[in-house]
């Protein structure tokens, strides 16, 4: 689901500044639906992996404490213009979200 992720990567001095926005409800499993009064089942991203030209540069385990439509920003040393950054995210229901961007 490439549309679920927006990415941008720019050089800032000698590090690459990467910004990622993922479209996701991030339901905690403790909130109730106002209309039906039933619990909304937990549905959140629990793993995010970022790679620079295939080499892992970030590996994050997430929980329910992250807001809807999460935003991640990180800076990568050793990135050069033209390098490819790929971000893969997996949620607790097994859905995968992928995005890639070329450093500008």
């Amino acid at each position: 689901m490439a549309e679920a992720m927006k990415m941008r990567a720019q050089m800032d001095g000698d590090v690459a500044d990467v910004k990622v926005l993922i479209k996701h409800p991030m339901d905690t499993g403790t909130m109730k639906d106002k209309k039906t009064d039933k619990l909304i089942p937990a549905h959140f991203i629990n793993q995010v992996v970022a790679t620079l030209n295939g080499k892992t540069v970030l590996d994050a385990q997430w929980g329910v404490g992250i807001a809807q439509n999460p935003f991640i920003g990180f800076r990568v040393k050793g990135g050069k213009p033209g390098d490819k950054i790929v971000v893969n995210a997996v949620d607790n229901l097994g859905a995968k979200f992928d995005g890639e961007v070329v450093i500008a």
């Binding site: 927006k6 941008r8 910004k19 926005l21 479209k23 809807q68 439509n69 935003f71």
Partner: protein, 275 residues
């Protein structure tokens, strides 16, 4: 001698009553002059940033947010609402000149036939009604997302609200009166904060100037919470412990008319982030 004095007094009174009935353009010029004295370091075109223009640190945070705004996902919903055809096959763009591009700066305008102020949101709902669709609720999230996209088509256009004719002037004066009337338990008017005390701190926040306040709506407060201009009036009135009026009420439409007129000549930018 006595007669001369009376004539002089009468002339003075006439003069005074003329200055009370100043034209909208004179009001705007006087306000710009006042802000120029209050904020000698802020350029006119930077008034659109409001309190951010007074605080370089806050402005740099704003810039980095606007560089890659997190509301862009929400905005896509507004875009699809704007572009989805109605049941009869027409789209929103059929209701506006130039397909909706560079028109939002002309709103709100005064409709002489209906003898009322027409806001951009009114025009959206009129379009829905004309095409047999259900109207949207004013100051609601859906209306916010839709107008956030629809107004973004007019980015860069100068705000150009016109006050022409007797009815228009009356609506303008009513809006002005509402702006200047003290209200609520804390007994503030809009003017007490944004004209008389602009730039001062209210708790930890600086008060924005009135000019430029109307050029960038709806905005995403906190980055994700879409708020329309009239929704913001509502929040403001709650803050001064007043009973807010309904969105699309005559009072708010007139207020929007007056407030937007004061931003004339400034470039539109929609949507924006505010904390």
């Amino acid at each position: 001698m006595k007669q001369k004095l009376t004539t002089l007094l009468a002339l003075l009174l006439i003069g005074a009553s003329f200055s009370v009935l100043a034209s909208p353009e004179a009001d705007r010029k006087a306000l710009i002059k006042q802000y120029k004295q209050d904020f000698p370091g802020i350029k006119f075109e930077n008034y659109i940033y409001g309190a951010l223009a007074m605080n370089p640190d806050a402005k740099s945070q704003y810039d980095s947010f606007m560089d890659f705004p997190s509301y862009s996902i929400d905005l896509e919903k507004g875009k699809s609402m704007w572009e989805t055809p109605f049941k009869n096959g027409k789209r929103f763009s059929s209701c506006f000149p130039k397909g909706g591009k560079n028109v939002a700066g002309n709103y709100p305008y005064f409709d002489n036939a209906a003898n009322r102020v027409v806001t951009f949101e009114n025009a959206i709902n009129a379009c829905l009604k004309k095409n047999g669709e259900a109207e949207l609720k004013y100051a609601d999230k859906e209306m916010g997302l839709l107008t956030a996209y629809a107004r973004s088509l007019s980015d860069g256009m100068k705000v150009s609200v016109k006050v022409k004719g007797k009815g228009a002037l009356a609506a303008y004066e009513k809006g002005k009166q509402y702006y200047e009337t003290r209200n609520g338990q804390l007994n503030f008017s809009c003017k007490s904060c944004h004209v008389q005390n602009a730039g001062k701190f209210i708790r930890s926040d600086q008060l924005s100037m009135m000019i430029g306040q109307a050029s960038h709506w709806p905005e995403f407060r906190g980055g994700t919470d879409v708020v329309t201009l009239q929704g913001r009036f509502n929040q403001c009135e709650k803050n001064v412990r007043a009973k807010p009026k309904d969105a699309n009420s005559e009072e708010y439409n007139n207020l929007e008319y007056y407030l937007t007129y004061m931003s004339n000549g400034l470039p539109m930018q929609t949507p924006v982030f505010r904390k």
